[in-house]
């Protein structure tokens, strides 16, 4: 079906080169740390060395006396002018961008300096004296649940448990009572983070006369978060203007970046100067709000005698760290595709969210959905072992069939479309499994183990926002809007200018905006420019989060170009002396149907529309200029039921992926190396294949990091033990193999052109495939990966307890 549709597209599906690249390869990117303003001062922040303590006193006298220091301020004083940070938690877990009286994790800001240079500011930090009274550090999430007294982080909450809910959808008891096999496993998901190469930062100028802030920051969602940051600063939303900068990687982490712009803004107002605050790597790791899901699962899959899955039970404890900014959103996310690509009619989700003395959680590529995928795929592999059914056959047997879409999963979410068998077939076509089986045997003689892993997962895309609150009994802010906007004008010379309102953060918004506008208006991409507007010139935009931006941009561009096209036709037809319905649009011109020699080019029409008002009839229809704006709402989202027996439709644009991984493990060192990697994705209609493949490869690279290398380890005292890039090991070019990426395209029935999101896909699929490959390397020996990362020492421990299988 797609291939025939494809022929009708002129620009969709092309590997258009990225306009973003020209400035980026020339050293002319516009990153936040590149911003330099007149009189600008530099901030440095004193971080708590303790995981949990009362701040008894802060002495800033010596710091203030240092030449070059303009301002020194402690958290309590800072809170007089900067209120608590935005939070989605309900009731709110109060968090200040600089700690007030109590620190709750290592790295939490305690005081700040503004000085003539960052060097002087850091000198001054060393002169600050803080007297702490230590409190018990709560590190283990299970112990945190029962903690009392001073081991409760937020005494007003009474407990470290900030959320507890249990939901059952579908005939769960029946499923488990009648199951021939109940496959149970406990999983431990590691605390990892996006770790962009650019840390978070902000440069803020404050105009004392107009009481207005101008903010340059590498955050996102400026237009929807701006009002809440304004409230924290005690000003009205119109008094804060956010510029859109290039962002050096986010992967979700910078989408809820509040503390950095707030610190810089508060300091700028107090110091009476523009202030730059850019985190160093240690600050980013310890206080960047960049840590992701940190979960313990007790999970069970009910399986009938013939291998049919009948029920899934997920009991989760999630260690959120010291605050609760994003509420349980990452579990709403996991619920979007909780039953994966399989027909599973019953689901239990039991969630305990607990606070500990660690950095708080924020989104990271997958936003908890990747954890759900890992757990489910691991259960399926365990079920294959326990039932003796081949793992690929077992998956096929339980796949939702392509005739069953749109498919409703037990909790109410809808999957729009898919063809899971075809994706699996395509992946298998890229690998000679028999040859690898032979290699498995020969490798043993060399002290090497070969293992093959398969994962088939869904990749929900196009975030809506009900997932951020629907697990709450009394949501503080039950928002339901997640729109995206564009503004398009055609200048007097015929050049189209598309204005967008969310940053480039490694995705390719300028490229896709060009391609989509070119497709709708049928004009050459070289005649289209893309720019960004700051919030005071902007429209509402949620930006690139939850694999949504291309789909949402497409909807917005569809609306704006439709308006433009109507006007172009109206002007063109009048110039040609015919009625609107007697012309057609092609090749950047309007021509008379049946007489293409009578035509007006877009450039001529644009010139006339801009400059020759008196050549056209009076009235609204021929207002000067060619411009249009359009705000596009999420294409398909519905309200949850009040009792949550149905969560509604909240993430219905659902792609799919099959990853096949071959690992080679050195028996002596327990080092795992990936020797073959195949990734086939169905992200619906693809706008730019090379960009999609880049997203997939990048997501897989991060997935390999999660699977094999990365973890934030905390000591018993709450010290962060892996707080540099030398200790927190993100993969280098040695660890990431070349990856075979291929596509199947099942268009979404709900989106423009049938596009689905793909930005998180690689990381939504990678980890279970790698884990399965490691199991498989020790086939028959009872080894099962239930905890990541599988470092050599972890694998050594697993091998020590595993043994020859009893069969």
């Amino acid at each position: 079906m797609m291939s025939s549709d494809r022929r009708n597209f002129r620009w969709i599906g092309q590997n258009l080169k990225r306009p973003e690249d020209i400035r980026l390869v020339s050293g002319r990117g516009r990153f936040v740390d590149d911003v330099k303003l007149p009189r600008m001062a530099h901030a440095a922040v004193l971080a708590s060395p303790h995981a949990h303590a009362r701040i008894v006193s802060i002495n800033l006298d010596a710091a203030r006396a240092l030449p070059g220091v303009y301002l020194a301020v402690g958290g309590r004083e800072f809170a007089d002018s900067v209120g608590p940070m935005p939070t989605l938690s309900s009731p709110p877990v109060v968090q200040h961008c600089m700690a007030v009286d109590r620190v709750r994790h290592v790295g939490e800001p305690v005081a700040a300096i503004v000085a003539a240079s960052r060097y002087i500011a850091e000198d001054a930090l060393a002169l600050i004296e803080v007297d702490y009274e230590l409190l018990p550090a709560v590190v283990d999430p299970v112990e945190a649940i029962a903690a009392t007294g001073d081991a409760v982080l937020h005494p007003d909450r009474g407990s470290n448990v900030v959320h507890n809910s249990r939901h059952v959808w579908g005939p769960l008891d029946e499923a488990f009572a009648s199951a021939a096999h109940v496959v149970r496993r406990r999983f431990r998901w590691p605390r990892v983070s996006p770790q962009p190469i650019e840390t978070s930062g902000a440069v803020v100028d404050y105009d004392r006369a107009e009481k207005k802030f101008t903010v340059h920051s590498n955050m996102s969602q400026q237009s929807v978060i701006g009002a809440r940051l304004a409230r924290a600063l005690g000003v009205e939303p119109f008094q804060i203007n956010f510029h859109i900068n290039d962002v050096g990687g986010s992967f979700g982490g910078k989408s809820s970046l509040y503390h950095v712009p707030l610190i810089a803004a508060g300091l700028a107002r107090l110091a009476g100067r523009p202030v730059k605050y850019v985190e160093d790597r240690l600050e980013h790791m310890a206080n960047g709000n960049q840590h992701a899901s940190d979960r313990i699962y007790d999970a069970a899959l009910a399986v009938a005698a013939d291998g049919t899955f009948t029920g899934l039970c997920l009991k989760v404890i999630d260690d959120y760290g010291a605050y609760f900014m994003m509420n349980t959103g990452s579990h709403g996310n996991a619920l979007a595709q909780a039953t994966g690509p399989y027909r599973i009619p019953a689901l239990e989700y039991d969630l305990t969210a607990v606070l500990t003395n660690k950095t708080q959680q924020a989104p990271y590529r997958g936003f908890g959905g990747e954890v759900g995928n890992f757990v489910l795929e691991r259960l399926v592999d365990a079920a294959a072992q326990e039932t003796g059914i081949d793992r690929i056959a077992l998956r096929r047997q339980n796949f939702i069939d392509k005739a069953e879409f749109p498919y409703r999963i037990p909790n109410g979410n809808i999957y729009d479309s898919g063809d899971y068998h075809r994706v699996l077939d395509r992946a298998l076509s890229h690998i000679d499994l028999d040859a690898w089986e032979a290699r498995r045997v020969s490798a043993r003689a060399e002290g090497k183990r070969i293992g093959i892993g398969v994962a088939t997962v869904n990749e929900r895309s196009v975030l809506s926002v009900t997932e951020l609150w629907f697990l709450d009994d009394k949501p503080a802010f039950p928002q339901t809007s997640s729109p995206e906007s564009v503004r398009i004008r055609i200048n007097a010379d015929g050049m189209a200018v598309v204005t967008i309102f969310a940053p480039h953060w490694g995705n390719s918004p300028e490229t896709v905006a060009k391609q989509l506008t070119a497709e709708y208006l049928q004009i050459d991409p070289d005649h289209i420019a893309v720019n960004y507007a700051s919030t005071e010139n902007g429209l509402i935009s949620k930006g690139p989060v939850g694999s949504r931006y291309t789909v949402m941009l497409a909807g917005a561009i569809a609306g704006a170009t439709a308006t433009l096209k109507t006007k172009i036709i109206r002007f063109g037809a009048h110039m040609l002396g015919v009625a609107d319905d007697e012309v057609e649009v092609h090749d950047e011109s309007v021509s008379v149907i049946g007489d293409p020699s009578r035509r007006q080019s877009f450039a001529d029409i644009a010139r006339a529309a801009h400059s020759f008002r008196l050549s056209f009839p009076g009235g609204e229809d021929f207002r000067s200029g060619l411009s249009a704006e359009h705000t596009y709402d999420h294409p398909y989202t519905t309200m949850p039921k009040a009792d949550r027996s149905d969560l509604g439709v909240f993430y219905p644009i659902v792609g799919h992926a099959c990853h096949i991984v071959v690992v080679e493990i050195d028996e002596r060192t327990n080092q795992t190396r990936i020797v073959k990697y195949i990734a086939v994705h169905d992200a619906g209609t693809i706008v730019n294949p090379r960009i999609v493949e880049g997203q997939i490869r990048g997501g897989i690279a991060q997935g390999i990091g999660t699977a094999l290398y990365e973890i934030y380890r905390y000591g018993e005292d709450g010290q962060l033990l892996t707080a540099s890039l030398a200790d927190y090991a993100i993969p280098t070019a040695h660890e990431i193999p070349d990856i075979v990426v291929d596509h199947v395209e099942t268009p979404s029935p709900f989106t423009e052109f049938g596009i689905k999101g793909c930005g998180e896909g690689g990381r939504l699929a990678c980890m279970p495939a790698v884990a399965a490959a490691i199991d498989d390397a020790f086939r028959g020996e009872g080894l099962f990966v239930a905890e990541l990362p599988v470092t050599p020492s972890h694998l050594h421990a697993l091998r020590s307890v595993a043994g020859p299988s009893p069969e």
Partner: protein, 158 residues
């Protein structure tokens, strides 16, 4: 202290504090913000520049050490007519970047590699860039970009 240094072919005399890092000298004093700071402990490679033709981590070197040196940064890569150099163009053609933050360091590392004699292969390129972290691409297209630029250069000189 006073130093004389050549930056992208331009002679510069500057007075610098002894503790001023090269990356801050380039970015804050000279306005050459193409060199990026990612970790400030010499791991990520984003701040890589060429000093007397050899790659150096500008976050681990003092500006005072540059006295008499020739420094090349990403800003010096454009051709005199303002067009992208073959290496820069190859990064664009091969989608060797996404956010572009690590890219200047990658380009400088690749510049050093392409100036060396000998045939490039994928493993050699991977080895050469293994000190430069990229969090977006998974490296494959960066390797493609450098190999393509190397092959084109070899054909041109053949």
């Amino acid at each position: 202290m006073t130093i004389s240094v050549t930056i992208n072919g331009e002679p510069i005399a500057a007075t610098v504090e002894p503790r001023l890092l090269v990356c801050d000298f380039l970015r804050d004093h000279l306005g050459l913000t193409g060199t990026h700071i990612g970790c400030e402990h010499g791991v990520c490679g984003a701040c890589t520049v060429l000093v007397d033709g050899r790659t150096a981590r500008s976050c681990l070197m003092f500006a005072a050490q540059l006295d008499g040196a020739e420094v090349e940064t990403v800003e010096g890569l454009l051709l005199p007519d303002g067009e992208l150099s073959p290496l820069q163009a190859s990064f664009r053609d091969n989608h060797g970047l996404q956010c572009g933050f690590c890219t200047p360091g990658m380009l400088m590392t690749a510049t050093e590699l392409l100036r060396q004699d000998g045939r490039l292969d994928r493993e050699g390129v991977r080895e050469a860039i293994s000190g430069n972290l990229c969090r977006c691409t998974g490296y494959e297209t960066i390797v493609d970009a450098i190999l393509t630029a190397g092959r084109d250069q070899a054909e041109e000189t053949a």
